[in-house]
Symmetry: C2
Subunit: 229 residues, 2 copies
Amino acid sequence: MSQLAHEVLAAVLQVRENSLQVLLWRRGREPDAGRWSLPGGSLGTSEDVETSIRRQLAEKVDVRQLAHVEQLAVFSAPHRVPGLRVVASAFLGLVPAGLDPEVPEDTDWHRVDALPETAFDHEAIVLRARNRLRSKLSYTNLGFALAPPVFTISALRELYSAALGYRVSATNLQRVLARRGLLEPTGDTLPPGPSGGRPAALFCFAEHGMQVTDPFAVLRPPSADRVSS
Amino acid sequence: MSQLAHEVLAAVLQVRENSLQVLLWRRGREPDAGRWSLPGGSLGTSEDVETSIRRQLAEKVDVRQLAHVEQLAVFSAPHRVPGLRVVASAFLGLVPAGLDPEVPEDTDWHRVDALPETAFDHEAIVLRARNRLRSKLSYTNLGFALAPPVFTISALRELYSAALGYRVSATNLQRVLARRGLLEPTGDTLPPGPSGGRPAALFCFAEHGMQVTDPFAVLRPPSADRVSS
DNA sequence: ATAGTTTTCGCCTTCCAGTTGAAAACTGAC
DNA sequence: GTCAGTTTTCAACTGGAAGGCGAAAACTAT
């Protein structure tokens, strides 16, 4: 009976150069040497998986720049790592746009829509992370983790477009976020670019904890009308 | 360095007697002997976690009656099981109402809103399962896993009410599910009860695979207008 | 001034959730 | 057979939020 190990892995996503990118490092050792893989490592004996992934990520990026970390899923196919029995807890991590954390030599950002050859099942994990991000952008305020502390609506529109993979309307985005009470004007404006134009107002996110907007009110009681806890 | 083990656990939920209940068994051995705990067991060396939980559940309930199984999260606090280092992959399982699977002697159903003393962190897992179910009832067709193959709108309303914890409108429920194309009339009707009333039409769910209804169209393009994959 | 650019705002349309009330289809009692 | 009671079903209305469009605002450059 082979030894069962537990590793933690994170798909750290950031919008850079107008596209959604993921932090990968090039494996030096076999198996899958030379391929790109997710940062992570073995779960320690006295830490939970979230503590562990934050600790391991600290070797790759400045963890203070990680605006959000959440569990994705367990990946546990018996031979996902050839020759070993390793179960992985996968995480989604988000770094706000604009930051450019220093990363080690062997580590780099890659477009999620044009991944290089990845090690093991890491591509599936990245895609799962992207899907989670896309869903949550719609019904939570997760955008705060993708955006810099202060931003214009146009900039936010481009972040959302890059993350979602399709153009979004700036008008609509602003109205929707505003109605949910997530958007706060700072009062400042950004001077227009060299080609002119009206100066853009600057906004910030009102809440930085995760807020979910109930997807459908479909089945909600009109007033307090609970029938059981 | 203590040995790291991996277990799989499932909160199997069913609506019975008009309330959401969970399948628990009474632990015989220390630690936490006498407390109620979730079915599950050790992850085998040549199975993934989903295969494993289905295998382990087969000892408690007829797995053919499990209409849905999905990963919940990893529970990995260092001392969640005293004296051992055990990481748990937690699952949500659903059994359609109406079925009454045979269960072993030491196993029984318990109301989720009135749990007995549970072992370890199993109460947290059950509550997480309930929350997942409640969310997904709103924006997926997960109801199919809670409902019998054929049902009346009133019966479905009571299932939803029990699972969600508040009364829902039958009118609304029917319209919403119908618009999403999830509800199919069978053509049959159920004869009314002893106190009379119009006979209720019978319906079934159109799709049994999981379908998600995009929570918010907020940021969706009007037509195909993709900007990148 | 004028043309061009970018942001912002208001108005309009459409769609869907939620409410209400009445009609339909049965039972049992008189 | 009719009438009252019960339960299901349907149709109409209301309110709110998303999405689209175009005009107005606020700049730069010529």
